[in-house]
């Protein structure tokens, strides 16, 4: 599904160059539920953005569904994004002057689905996420958890193969965070690959694989079976903190 081979990425600002990703090798199967962890500035978002074709990389290869993703035109990237990827952001990123239903329907607009049809599909997705009654509300009339569910519905509507979520619970309280994670779990159960970036160990513990970044490299990968082990060390980390 996703195959990264020795990915490098630097940010160049004037004369300075910041080497953020220093050779990432990663293999993610279809249907995986992965979290990316690491300290602030370790390159989690950078990695996720490259996966989502929102940003480009300098060196290495990235294959998505068998296609080499490299140096493609913005138009082609937009099409790939629309077909393969759904994004969920920490700050929800809904369009402020569109109501919930219109926000959810937007990706289908770019696909050329007629208004009636796409609004109907959007309603279905909102219903799945328990937001049917909020369809005509504007984003500023909704709570953080509701907004994030709208964002997830929007990410799902174009039937993507992957959901990429950068700190989807970062702006939410614990209870709401767990609700959102429950939804993402269901999404994953339907066969969609879910990759999230998170700071929170309890959130990460809900996924089936944890990738820890450190200094631009993959420090460790904790798989399903080792999660118990992870939880132990996580408790220890909590204690030392």
């Amino acid at each position: 599904m996703i195959k990264l081979n020795n990915i490098h990425k630097s940010y160049v600002m004037g004369n300075n160059s910041l080497h953020v990703l220093k050779g990432i090798d990663l293999h993610i199967e279809q249907g995986d539920f992965v979290s990316i962890m690491g300290s602030s500035g370790s390159g989690k978002s950078t990695l996720l953005n490259i996966l989502g074709m929102l940003d480009n990389y300098d060196n290495g290869t990235y294959h998505l569904s068998g296609n080499l993703i490299s140096n493609m035109s913005e138009t082609k990237a937009a099409k790939y994004r629309n077909d393969l990827v759904g994004f969920v952001f920490q700050s929800f990123n809904l369009i402020s002057f569109k109501n919930a239903m219109e926000n959810v329907a937007l990706p289908l607009y770019y696909k050329g689905v007629p208004r009636k049809k796409r609004n109907q599909i959007a309603l279905e997705y909102l219903e799945k996420l328990g937001l049917k009654d909020w369809a005509n509300h504007m984003p500023n009339e909704m709570s953080g958890g509701q907004k994030q569910r709208v964002a997830i519905a929007r990410a799902l509507i174009s039937n993507p193969k992957i959901i990429l979520a950068d700190e989807p619970t970062g702006a939410l309280d614990t209870a709401t965070s767990y609700e959102v994670m429950e939804i993402l779990k269901q999404v994953n159960d339907s066969g969609i690959t879910v990759i999230i970036v998170t700071h929170e160990h309890d959130i990460a513990a809900m996924t089936r694989q944890i990738i820890r970044l450190k200094d631009g490299r993959i420090h460790e990968i904790i798989r399903n079976g080792e999660l118990k082990q992870f939880q132990k060390s996580y408790m220890k980390e909590l204690e030392t903190a």
Partner: protein
């Protein structure tokens, strides 16, 4: 191709910020409004002036005499002289290019009232004219008839009078036709009230204050002898009046022993030359209108482009999100350009309508002012309106394209991150 989604997208984006949309549109509105009003006003001046001369035979020329400025054949310079009726006969017989020839005598032009009727008195411009005069400088009879050849031959004491003469010399309910006026001591019967079709004025004074009597009658009644003060000619079709003017001058100088090189002795002008001058003037006015109008419009368009840039900047994140969820650069550009064109054309259309409205109101006011004004019928033609619209669409596209290009030139992730 009408894309309802595109339009609802655009309308909601514009509605979201009414004030900003309004300010954006205002520059364009003002530009097109000014263009229309100025151009209409220029056209009105043109119409006003050209209407005033249109009815004038454009192939006409006018001659009078001045003192000589060069000594010649024993005559001192500064000699006063006049044309004579024999000159007129000579021209009629020998100059084939002449179509109409109309000699004129001026009545007593001393200050004070020269016209009396009972208690009423007035000072008017009195001319002795040939009937052919009406073919050169058109007048229409409002009442009665024009002076004709029979009046001339019979030397009848009749006159045509202008509208102002009627006002002064007659009561409101009186019919001037058949009544008598005493002009410089001689009674003339009014046979027609006449209205000037042109406002080119020869001999000064207002045309409404004119009294015209037959040339022959005037000559006899006031003892003018053989003198002719002034005459008008028109050239036959196919001949140039300027050439005729020169030819007649040469003949007249020769007949009156005026030095051929004397530039002052004969006063003359021809309408053809004046027309050329007028036309150049109006082309100049229209050109200026367009330059100023386009300039204003351009300023408006640059304003739109600037504000679009600001809007795009404010919406960087929104555009980034749209691109993240699948909007292609082409879609983004299409939206921004459509928004810009929509704003520009709407604003332009309102400016156009309002401009035309103002011209229409102006026109109504001018119509009330009658035909004395050198300013009439401000109009704006379809070509002009359409080309203004075309300019608007094109400028709207350009105004949108620049910020649109910029919007898609940044990476979507940078756009989303934009704070």
């Amino acid at each position: 191709m009408f894309d309802l989604d595109l339009w609802s997208e655009i309308i909601s984006a514009l509605k979201k910020n009414r004030m900003r949309s309004f300010m954006t549109a205002f520059g364009v509105f003002w530009g097109i409004f000014m263009l229309i009003v100025m151009s209409g006003a220029g056209k009105a001046l043109e119409n006003g002036v050209l209407d005033g001369v249109r009815a004038f035979a454009t192939n006409s020329a006018f001659f009078w005499t001045e003192r000589t400025s060069v000594p010649y054949e024993g005559f001192q310079r500064g000699r006063r002289w006049n044309y004579e009726t024999s000159d007129m006969d000579y021209i009629r017989d020998n100059v084939k290019e002449v179509e109409y020839l109309s000699p004129r005598l001026f009545g007593n032009q001393q200050a004070g009232n020269n016209t009396i009727r009972g208690e009423r008195a007035g000072a008017f411009n009195v001319y002795g004219d040939y009937p052919d005069y009406f073919k050169i400088d058109r007048w229409t009879p409002i009442q009665g008839r024009l002076i004709n050849d029979i009046d001339m031959i019979q030397e009848r004491k009749v006159c045509n009078i202008g509208e102002r003469v009627v006002e002064v010399m007659f009561g409101k309910d009186e019919n001037p036709i058949g009544q008598y006026l005493k002009v410089s001591g001689v009674y003339f019967q009014v046979v027609g009230v006449i209205h000037a079709e042109t406002r080119i004025n020869i001999g000064g004074g207002k045309k409404e204050e004119t009294i015209i009597i037959p040339f022959s009658t005037m000559r006899k009644a006031y003892n003018y002898g053989n003198r002719v003060y002034f005459f008008s000619v028109t050239s036959k079709p196919g001949t140039k009046v300027s050439d005729l003017e020169e030819k007649l001058k040469t003949i007249l100088k020769d007949r009156h022993k005026v030095a051929p090189e004397d530039q002052q002795a004969i006063g003359s002008f021809n309408i053809e030359k004046e027309f050329v001058k007028f036309n150049a003037l109006f082309i100049g006015i229209q050109a200026l209108t367009w330059i100023v109008g386009i300039g204003t419009l351009l300023a408006g368009v640059i304003g739109v482009s600037n504000i679009m840039l600001v809007i795009i900047k404010e919406r960087t994140q929104e555009i980034g999100i749209q691109r993240a969820i699948g909007a292609t650069p082409a879609t983004v550009i299409k939206h921004i350009v459509a928004e810009s064109v929509f704003l520009t054309v709407m604003a332009g259309y309102i400016g156009l309508s309002l401009g035309v409205g103002v011209l229409e109101i102006l026109n109504q006011i001018l119509l009330k002012g009658g035909d004395k004004l050198f300013f009439r019928n401000p109009e704006i033609n379809l070509t002009m309106a359409l080309s203004a619209l075309a300019v608007l669409v094109v400028s709207g596209i350009i105004a949108g394209l620049i910020p649109a290009k910029r919007a898609v030139s940044i990476k979507p992730i940078d756009a989303i991150r934009d704070e």
